[in-house]
C-alpha cells in the first residue's frame, strides 16, 4: 500500500523556498562562517577544503560516519584543534586565518561534550556559574543568571547537588545549562546524546531543540545518528572522508539525495542504475534491465530541474516505504515483478526484501488485519509512483559506492544503529 505523500510535497515546496537563500552573505548575522577549512592529524587529512555557514538562531548538524571529519571541524571552530588552512569567522569576527588564531577561551562560543564534562568536584550551580564568573560578571547578576538557567533545564531543585549524584540525563542538562549560560554566539554540541539510553535520547532531542528555539541560540551539532540529525536540524551537512557531500534541510536530504553516499547514509534506500530512454519537459523514462527484462521506470521531474540527456546513465533512488505491493497489477511501467526473499513482521508493517532481476530491494509493506500476509517465495508486483522517485547522475567518485551497493544487492544502510 502506498503511503500518501501529498502533504510532504507541499512541505517540500515551502522548505525549498526558504532554503534557496544565498549562502554567501558576509553579514554579522552569520553566527559562523567557515571558508576553505583544511585540518589534518600528522599526515592524514581529516577535513578538506570545507565551506560552511550558520545563520543566527539556526540549528545546523554535521552528519557522517565516524572518522568523516565532523568532530575535527567542530574542534577547529572551538579552537581545540588548530587547522592547517582556511578561515573561521564567528559572528563576523575572524578567529582563525591570516595569521590570527584566537585561543578557545577568547572565542564567543561554548560547547556541550559527548562525555558531558560536568566537573565532578563542583555542585550543579557551581558548574553553571563557572563561565559567568570567567566573564567577570558581577556576582549577583551571575547568581541570578545561573539560577535561571538551572530552572530552564528543570534542575532548579538540584543546584547544590554534586554532579556525580546526578543521573546521565541530569548531567546532560547541567552541561546544556552551562553552555547556554554564557550566551555565546554559537553553541557547539559534540554527539551530546550518544551516552543516553534510547528513551531519554528521544526526550532530550526534543528538549534541546526547544531550548535552542526559546533562547534563539545558534547551534552547530555533530552526530552520526541520521534520525537525530533529521529530527533536530534546520539544515544538515552530510560529510564523508573530510568532504561535504550535501547540505540541505532534512526533507531534501531524505527525499532528494544527490549521491549514493547521502542516499544510503540518510535512511535506507534502493539504488538502481539505468539508461535514460525518453525525456519530456516534466518527466523522463529510465530503462533498468537489471531489475528484470523490460523493466522501465518513469521519473517525474521536480520544478526547476534540468532533465538528464537521453542515453545518459542515471541512478534512480527509492526508499523502502515508497514502494507499494500489489498482487493484482501486472508488471509494467513502474511496476516490477519481484519474489519475497525474507519478511519480518514489525507490527506496523513488514520489512521485506525482494529479489527483482539482479537486485535485492528493501520494502516496507503496510498490511491490514484482514489481509493474509504473503509468504516467502511468493511473487508480487512492486509499484513505485513516478513522482516519488528521485535520481542523480553518478559522478565518477560515486562509482565505487554504487557498485558496492549493486554487487551486494542490498541497499547499504550505514548509521542506522546508533
Amino acid at each position: 500500500m502506498l503511503i500518501a505523500h501529498d502533504n510532504e510535497v507541499n512541505v517540500m515546496k515551502k522548505v525549498n523556498e526558504t532554503v534557496n537563500e544565498p549562502d554567501t552573505a558576509e553579514s554579522a548575522d552569520n553566527a559562523l562562517q567557515v571558508k576553505g577549512l583544511v585540518a589534518s592529524y600528522g599526515s592524514s587529512i581529516a577535513v578538506d577544503n570545507l565551506d560552511l555557514h550558520i545563520g543566527s538562531s539556526e540549528f545546523v548538524t554535521l552528519l557522517g560516519p565516524s572518522g568523516c571529519g565532523k568532530t575535527t571541524t567542530l574542534r577547529c571552530v572551538a579552537g581545540l584543534h588548530t587547522p592547517s588552512g582556511g578561515e573561521i569567522r564567528l559572528a563576523g569576527k575572524r578567529v582563525y586565518g591570516s595569521g590570527t588564531n584566537v585561543p578557545p577561551n577568547k572565542r564567543d562560543i561554548n560547547m556541550v561534550f559527548q562525555s558531558y564534562a560536568v566537573w565532578p568536584h563542583m555542585t550543579t550551580y557551581e558548574n553553571v556559574v563557572y563561565g559567568l564568573k570567567a566573564q567577570k560578571m558581577d556576582s549577583s547578576t551571575a547568581r541570578a543568571k545561573a539560577r535561571t538557567m538551572l530552572d530552564l533545564v528543570g534542575l532548579g531543585d538540584f543546584a547544590d547537588r554534586y554532579a556525580t549524584d546526578l543521573s546521565g540525563g541530569q548531567q546532560q542538562r547541567v552541561a546544556l545549562a552551562r553552555a547556554l549560560a554564557t550566551e555565546p554566539s554559537l553553541v557547539l554540541m559534540d554527539e551530546p546524546l550518544s551516552n543516553l539510553d534510547a528513551q531519554l535520547r528521544a526526550r532530550m532531542r526534543d528538549e534541546i531543540r526547544q531550548l535552542q528555539r526559546s533562547t534563539e541560540t545558534s547551534v552547530l551539532y555533530v552526530t552520526h545518528d541520521q534520525s537525530e540529525a533529521l529530527a533536530m536540524s534546520d539544515r544538515v551537512v552530510v560529510m564523508n572522508q573530510g568532504v561535504i557531500q550535501q547540505i540541505g534541510d532534512p526533507w531534501t536530504l531524505y527525499n532528494r539525495p544527490v549521491n549514493a553516499f547521502v542516499a544510503t547514509f540518510v535512511g535506507d534506500a534502493n539504488l538502481v542504475t539505468g539508461t535514460v530512454t525518453d525525456v519530456s519537459p516534466h518527466a523522463f523514462t529510465v530503462s533498468v534491465p537489471t531489475l528484470g527484462e523490460g523493466a522501465v521506470l518513469d521519473v517525474v521531474l521536480d520544478v526547476n530541474t534540468t532533465p538528464p540527456a537521453r542515453g545518459r546513465q542515471v541512478t534512480v533512488v527509492f526508499r523502502p516505504e515508497w514502494v507499494s505491493v500489489d498482487e493484482k497489477v501486472e508488471p509494467g511501467r513502474n511496476a516490477i515483478a519481484a519474489t519475497i526473499l525474507s519478511s519480518e513482521f514489525l507490527g506496523s508493517h513488514f520489512e521485506r526484501s525482494y529479489r527483482a532481476g539482479e537486485h535485492t530491494l528493501r520494502v516496507q509493506a503496510v498490511t491490514s488485519p484482514s489481509i493474509t500476509p504473503a509468504q516467502v517465495g511468493e511473487q508480487q508486483t512492486l509499484r513505485i509512483a513516478p513522482e516519488n522517485l528521485t535520481w542523480f547522475e553518478p559522478a565518477s567518485g560515486d562509482d565505487d559506492a554504487e557498485h558496492a551497493a549493486a554487487d551486494e544487492q542490498v541497499p547499504v544502510s550505514v548509521g542506522r544503529h546508533a
Binding site: T82, P103, W119
Partner: protein
Amino acid sequence: MAIMTLEPEETLPAEPRPPRGGPALGRRIMIGGLIALLTVLVFLPTAYVFIGALSENARDPIATFSLDAIKDSYGNWEIWKVLGETMAMSVLCGVVATAIGGVLAWVIARTDVPFKRLFEVVVIAPLFLSPFIGALAFLELGAPRTGLINQIARELNLPSFISIDVMTFQWLVIILALHYVPYGYLLVSGSLQNMDASLEEASQINGRGTVQTALRVTLPAVKHAMLSSIIFVTISATGMFSVPALLGAKMDFHPLAVTVYRATSGYPANYALAAALGTMLVLLSIVGLWLYQRGMRQASKFVTVTGKSRNRKKIELGSMKYVIVGLLVLYALVTTILPYAALCLRALSTSTNLGDIHLTTDVISDVFAKPELKTALKNTIIVSAATAILTVVIGTFTSYVTERMRFRGSGLVNSIAMAPLAVPGIVFATGVFAMYLGSPLYGTLTIMVIAYIASYLPHATRVTGNGFAQIDVSLEEASRMCGATRTRTMNKVLLPLMKPSVSAALIMVFLFTVREINTAILLYTPDTMLLSILSFNYASQASLPAAAVVGLIETALMIAWIAIAMAILRPGNLYKRG
C-alpha cells in the same frame, strides 16, 4: 594507597590526541624547562656513574682516564660470582613477595573472608616499617643464640627446628620478601579489581571450579601485573644494601650493593670501583626492564581487562575461612606485631635475656639525650618535607607535560623521568657524589634532597600521571569553552581533581624518604645526619637498643607525616564519574 606500576604508558585507541593550540611560547618554555630539569636531576648523575667508573677523578675524567676499576669489577671472577648470588637473592625475593602478595590479593578481592578492611590494612602495614628497622627487629627475634624466639624455644625445651637463624641466606630472602609483599599485593589487587567479572563467571558456567578458574582465567589476566611486581621487587632488592649489610654480616655472601658500599667506606675509598660495580647493577636493571617489556608484549593479548566493575559474587570459603584467617593473623604476627613488640622490648629494657628483663625508660632517655638525635630528627624532617613537596611538584609537572602536551619526544622525556627506577639508590648516589664533589653543595642537606628527588621522581610521576590519565581532557576543554584561561583552568578544574593522586604521591614520598638509607649512606656527613643513618650506625656499632629507639621514632615520624598530609589535603575519594 597508590603505587607505581612498570606498565608502559597506555596507548590510546585510534583517534590521535589533537595537539593543542594556544600560546606556543608558553608550551615551549614548559617543555624546555622540564628537559633541563630532568637533565640536571636524573641524566647527569646517571652519566656520572659511568664517567666515575672510567676515571680516577670524575671532575677531570679525560686526564685521569683509567680502566682499572673496570678491570677490578668486570674483569674479576669473584665479582661475577657475587653478581650471580645477588641476582639469585633478588629474583627469589621478587618471586616470593609476588606470590604471597598475589595470593593475598586474590583472597581479599575474591573471597568472602571476614574483616576484609582490617586485613587489607594488615597486608600493607609492612610499608610503614623501614626494611632496615624490620631486619633489626628480626635480628632481635631470631639471632642465632640471643634471639627471643630461640630463647623461648630453649626455655621450653622445644624441638630444635623451632629455633631459627635469621643470619642466613634463606632468612635474608624471606625477610626481604616479606618487606616487599605489600608491593606485590597492591599491584596484583589493582589488576584484579579492574578485571571484568564476567570473564570468571563464564569460566564457572563452562564447568570450571574455583581453583581451576583462578589458575586458568584469573592468573593469565593478572600475569602482567605479577610480572611487573617481580621485576620491580627484583630491581629494588638488588639495590638494597642496608638489610643484607646487617643480616649478612656473618655470612660469606655480600650482595653487590654491599660490595659497592664497602668500596666507598674502606680506606682508601675506591669510588671508581664503586661506580664500576654500580654500572653492573644499572646494566642488570636495564636487562630486567627489557625482559619485562618483552614479556609485556607477549602478555598483552591476555589483557582483556576493562573498566567494568560490578558486584561480583564472592567465593564462599566455608570452613577454609578459619584456616585463611589463621594465616592472615600469622602474617600480621610475623610482619608487624612481633617485630614491633621486639623493638619495643629492646627499647624499654636494658637486656633482652628472658630471665633478665627490667622495664625501664633509660635507653629512651639516653638516646634522646644524645645531640646527634636532635640533629638527625631535625634533618630528617627538613629533608623528607622538602623532598616530598619538591618531588611531587616536579613529578606533577613532568606528568602534566608528558600526558597533556603530547609532543614529539614526550615518550623519551617520560622514560628519562622513569630511569631512576633502573638505577639502585646506592649507585645513583655514587653519581651524585661524583657530580657534586668539590662543589659548595657537597655535604649539605641540599645534595641529599637533590638525590632523593631523582630517586622518587618515577614514583611521583607515575602516580600523578595515572591521576591525569583518569581526568578526561574534555573537563579541561569545557573550562576553556566557558571562557576560562589556562591558569584558571589549572587552578579551578585540574588541580582540585588531582588532589587525591597528589596526596597519594606526597604520602608515598614522605614514607620513602624518612626510611631511606641506600642513597643517603654515601652522601651524609655528621652535620647532615638522618634518623635512618643514625639507626644504621647504631646497629653497626652493635648498640641495638639505641637503633631500636631510633627505628621507633622513624615510624612515629612516618605516621605523623601521614596524619598531617591527610589533615591538610583532605584527599577524600577519587571523584568517580557517572
